[in-house]
């Protein structure tokens, strides 16, 4: 009886995921089939913007001729995620390495819960902090032309990701068998060499999984970017420009769209893309972890 219940609960989880994909996919169907007003060409290829101007990529979904290019949104998402990862991963890994390898036990018992507490800050609070404080600081420090930018959003997002990457990476480092460390030290390696050359590579799959988890969180994160990025859909690689991400676009526009219209389908299509992105990422990460494990198993 209990086994049956557990089985049912487990299966209902899978069913929920499937139903969500089916539902989102169905609403995005006009885009996928290309029989609506917008197809893959309008979403991904340059479109005429204004008479006398070269075609380009623009996100202006409301107007006589809606412009629904995915390019500025994809670029925005990648830009913010990149900033967040570049800042968060080194910090989180360094913190994890220190906590698991060098910190005295007392300090370690204090550090881990405190950093994990960061994860419990609601993202809306982080967004608010970025909007009110971080934005002004970044503008005066880096001399940015505008307060809100991909950089500010990325920095705020880094705060959200650090605890995620830290926790998983720290667990992976701690899980490396004591014998590895003892063997390394016995061979005359310094504690630092042991941590960097033995423990970290041994924990590589877990550390990589931590980074992927952080990446997934960053791509889907909505509230922080909605508040701190300025939400201007600019096609540029500059980090000091305001930027509009895919998740923030869904959040900002879903309440207004005409039910079942082209704009509606496009928003669902964006959701589908986000889903596909994280799925692909998890798959790559899984493959990497399996490969590393096999390699480690083979040489050990």
């Amino acid at each position: 009886m209990i086994a049956l219940t557990i089985q049912a609960v487990g299966l209902s989880g899978i069913a929920a995921v499937l139903l969500i994909v089916i539902f989102v996919g169905r609403e995005a169907l006009p885009i996928l089939r290309g029989d609506g007003e917008a197809g893959f060409d309008t979403l991904f290829l340059p479109q005429p913007l204004r008479p006398g101007k070269p075609p380009g990529f623009m996100w202006q979904p409301v107007g006589e001729v809606p412009k629904l290019s995915m390019i500025p949104l994809l670029l925005g998402t990648l830009k913010v995620t990149l900033v967040a990862m570049v800042v968060a991963v080194p910090v989180a890994l360094a913190a994890a390495l220190f906590t698991s390898e060098f910190a005295p036990r007392r300090l370690r018992e204090l550090l881990k819960p405190v950093i994990e507490l960061l994860a419990s800050i609601p993202s809306v609070v982080l967004g608010f902090f970025a909007l009110m404080t971080l934005a002004g600081w970044a503008q005066s420090t880096f001399g940015l032309p505008s307060r809100l930018s991909a950089l500010v959003a990325g920095l705020a997002m880094a705060i959200a990701i650090v605890p995620v990457v830290f926790t998983v990476a720290e667990d992976a480092l701690t899980a490396v068998p004591r014998s590895y460390r003892e063997a390394s030290l016995a061979l005359g390696a310094t504690p630092w060499e042991t941590a960097w050359r033995v423990v970290l590579p041994a924990a590589a799959p877990g550390v990589f999984a931590a980074c992927v988890l952080g990446f997934g969180r960053a791509i889907g994160e909505t509230m922080i970017v909605l508040m701190a990025s300025g939400n201007a859909a600019i096609v540029s690689l500059s980090l000091s420009d305001s930027t509009r991400t895919m998740s923030a676009t869904i959040a900002a526009e879903m309440g207004e769209v005409v039910f079942g219209g082209t704009h509606w389908s496009v928003l669902f299509f964006i959701g589908l893309q986000l889903f596909a992105l994280t799925l692909a990422l998890n798959w790559v990460a899984g493959a990497f972890v399996r490969r590393t494990l096999r390699r480690l198993g083979g040489t050990a």
Binding site: F23, E27, L49, R50, M58, W59, Q60, P61, V62, G63, E64, K67, P72, A135, G136, P145, S146, R147, L148, L226, G230, N231, A232, A233, I234, V235, D241, S242, R244, A252, E253, M254, G255, E256, V258, F259, G261
Partner: protein
């Protein structure tokens, strides 16, 4: 929130649910009449409507009026979905929305102008400019002019602030000022007029727009029209001289009854319209 309802309806594969949801959507107006009067929509009108609700409570202590913002589009979506009694809108109903009202509720809606507003452009208090022409503003907002020195200001890039496209003010500026053209891609979109004012107050080279009653801590630009320079004041809006004037509306699904009727009567009364002037807008009468 509005989208949640859509989603429930859209899961049509669960056919058993559908009659229930439909039944609930018919019940919603009845339930709303018994509970608090819900008013939702335009961020331009939220402050004004809250003042109305406060004053109305003083003479009708039993009345409960619940006011929330979110933008004109959000309010009108809520009206169509039956989750609000009155929608606040700073733009007229779109044809598509009228169609949906007809399809869901069998009426084309009830429109009531309750105040007049002039869309105001704000700049930072440190900005030396005090007036711009409509043409200059248009060129700034479509992205042809990107430096203040091109319109007689300091040599600094213009930081453009706009509103989310669920905003009635966004649609109004797009139609009336830009002649339907698209906003510059560099225009940052903020949720709500208060956010725009706050951003411009902090951003030395910023420019933003919003309703008349919000210009605090920022400089409201005067508009050059021909030889005239018109300040965004209630008088200029009332006389119709101010070019970017517009009506602010209440929308209902059908003619007001019960608690909605009482509240609307108060808003249009002399006392109610006096509040309109106090908040910074222009009365309709």
């Amino acid at each position: 929130m509005a989208s949640n309802l859509h989603m429930k309806r859209a899961t049509g594969s669960r056919m058993k649910r559908l009659p229930l949801v439909l039944a609930l959507s018919f019940l919603a107006p009845l339930a709303a009449a018994a509970g608090p009067l819900t008013v939702k929509g335009s961020d331009t009108m939220v402050v004004l409507t809250q003042r109305w609700a406060e004053e109305y409570r003083k003479t009708h202590p039993e009345a409960k009026v619940q006011v929330t913002g979110g933008g004109s589009g959000t309010g009108l979506s809520a009206l169509i979905n039956g989750t609000t009694e009155i929608a606040l809108s700073s733009r007229p109903l779109k044809e598509a929305e009228r169609e949906q009202l007809r399809a869901r509720h069998g009426s084309t809606g009830y429109q009531l102008a309750v105040a007049k507003d002039g869309v105001t452009f704000y700049v930072n208090e440190k900005n030396p400019l005090s007036a711009l022409t409509l043409d200059q503003l248009k060129r700034i907002y479509v992205g042809e002019v990107t430096n203040w020195k091109e319109v007689g200001g300091p040599d600094a890039p213009i930081v453009l602030y706009s509103r989310e496209n669920s905003s009635g003010t966004y649609v109004f500026v797009k139609d009336q000022l830009l002649g339907g053209e698209d906003f510059a891609a560099a225009a940052q979109t903020l949720p709500g007029t208060a956010a725009v004012v706050n951003a411009v107050a902090k951003e030395r080279h910023g420019i933003g727009y919003g309703g008349l009653g919000y210009a605090r801590g920022v400089k409201a630009l005067e508009l050059g029209v021909g030889a005239d320079v018109l300040a965004p004041t209630a008088e200029n809006v009332k006389s119709g001289k101010y070019p970017l004037s517009r009506d602010l509306f209440f929308y209902l699904r059908s003619e007001p009854r019960g608690s909605a009727q009482g509240f609307i009567d108060f808003c249009l009364s002399e006392a109610g319209q006096r509040l309109v002037s106090q908040v910074g807008y222009s009365p309709v009468k």
